[in-house]
Amino acid sequence: MKSRQLGWDALGIAVFVVMVFPVFWMISTAFKPNDLIVSLTPTWIPLHPTLDHFTDAIHRPYFWADVKNSLIIVCVTVALSIALAFLAAIALARFGFAGRKLFVVLVIGIQMLPQAGLIIPLYVVLARYHQVNTLTGVIVTYMTFVLPFSVWTLRGFLLGIPKELEEAAMVDGSTRVGVFVKILLPLMGPGLVATSVFAFITTWNEYIFARILLNDQSKQTVTVWLSYFYSTNRHTDWGALMAASTLTAVPVVVFFLLVQRRIAFGLTSGAVRG
């Protein structure tokens, strides 16, 4: 048995290495002195790593302000979107009601629209609401992009939970809210987490709408901050860009490590019995 487990683990590590290699390359480049970055023969790990790129990146204007903005925008967007999407997903998965098909079409249809076409119309609308150059304008915009797939994905997870569980609980005298809290919520743990991770990453990395909607550098997000590294007509400081990108990836990984335990196996054990 043990060797079988080792076999799987070895495969897991191999997959890890292959998948993470480009990220490793990014991080390794962040520590390389400039001449190693462009050298003819690739260097895997720099012999004399330097922290210069990181200090350079942090000292670029508005780093901390933009990180703060990103965190605010992303956390509010994810919290609100997951909450609202969950409610809507319950409606879709558990109720039959007129207009249901239309709602589904709306949810899917929104995602099928190429975003490029929406940039100018969206800007015009937000300008009328006086929401240009505001964090709330960006939050609301992001919510409209996150809600559809969140509803869609959460509905899928909900459909995986047999209705019998809820019905059994109701028969046992539980209220609708009780069913929600004691049965649905725990079973939806993995689904909710996976969807919020996705929402977090998508909004954290979103660029073009943040660029168009936010004017003051003090209000911009970290992806816009990152774009200053490569939007110049002159040469791009790759070391600094890689260091900056590594820094911007940190919150995402931290968030994931905090929540990943909820995607645990065996949450449903014992639920189907009896």
Partner: protein, 291 residues
């Protein structure tokens, strides 16, 4: 009750996207370039924009190319994603945290940076890929240009996109697998069922809704993907010969500042993606109704 549940979502989407959608449809029926944009006034031309796009040979060639591209991307993403999800179930806890964190690291890389790293890895001058392949004696890959032909360009783009898409699919499927009651699986083992039978009869039905959703989402996203192909192939090498639909839209709509035409192409893309994913979407909708 259900209306109260869906109301917040509907209101939010309607408030923000309502006007843009209406505006987009109106734009598609107008002659609307930079000149008209400045004056906020377009000239109504009926279906002329649509007719011009549908008569454009480049549109049809691009459409076919994009459909093939999408099929390849979605197939690879879903198969590999499912395999990685199953692997996540099998490995021991520390490796699971390692692998899933690695996947999230991949996921969290900004696209622009990922493209640049991919370029560094695959460029013919000093790319690591050529170096490693040559060292492994798999042939002489020194100075091999991975971007020489349209097929190889789009293959590189496919690899990049699939690599970037695997984390979401793998982690979501893993979350889906977490919903499979292990007691059911144990009971089936006791009854003598093999791994494949257990997968087919127990796991797959529970996973089906999520698989369908992920497939439909993948189709939608891969059909409209823009940043990766545009940046990786490079503005100077993007030609009608290797256009993808989103690049076609960008070139025809934004770059030429022909917003009317761009709107028409956007709506056509919407319709096409709708048709492409209808099979999966229908099945998804039906699953909900059956319960």
């Amino acid at each position: 009750m259900p209306y109260a549940l869906i109301a917040p979502v509907v209101v939010t989407i309607a408030l923000i996207l309502g006007y843009p959608l209406y505006f987009l449809v109106r734009l598609s029926l107008q002659q609307y370039g930079l000149f008209e944009l400045i004056r906020h006034q377009g000239v109504g031309v009926g279906l002329a924009n649509y007719r011009s796009v549908l008569h454009d040979q480049i549109f049809w060639h691009t459409l076919v190319r994009t459909i093939v591209f999408t099929a390849a991307n979605v197939a690879l993403t879903m198969v590999l994603g499912l395999l990685i999800a199953l692997l996540l179930v099998q490995v021991s806890r520390p490796v699971r945290v390692l692998l899933s964190s690695g996947l999230v690291l991949v996921w969290s890389m900004p696209v622009v940076v990922a493209v640049q790293v991919w370029y560094w890895m695959t460029n013919f001058e000093n790319g690591v890929v050529n170096y490693v392949l040559t060292q492994l004696h798999l042939g002489s890959f020194e100075q091999h240009d991975w971007y020489a032909s349209t097929f190889s360009q789009l293959s590189m783009v496919t690899l990049l996109i699939v690599w970037g898409a695997l984390p979401f699919v793998a982690i979501t499927l893993y979350a889906g697998l977490a919903q499979v009651p292990p007691d059911l699986l144990e009971a089936a083992s006791v009854d003598g069922a093999g791994a494949w039978m257990k997968f087919r009869d127990i796991t797959l039905p529970i996973l089906r809704p999520i698989l369908l959703i992920l497939t439909s989402l993948s189709i939608i996203w891969d059909f409209g993907v823009f940043t990766q192909p545009y940046l990786l192939i490079g503005q100077s090498k993007v030609t009608p010969g290797n256009f993808l639909m989103s690049i076609y839209l960008f070139e025809e709509g934004y770059f030429k500042s022909d917003y009317g035409r761009g709107a028409a192409i956007s709506l056509l893309m919407l319709a096409i993606v709708g048709v492409l994913s209808i099979v999966y979407v229908r099945r998804m909708v039906r699953i909900g109704v059956e319960t």
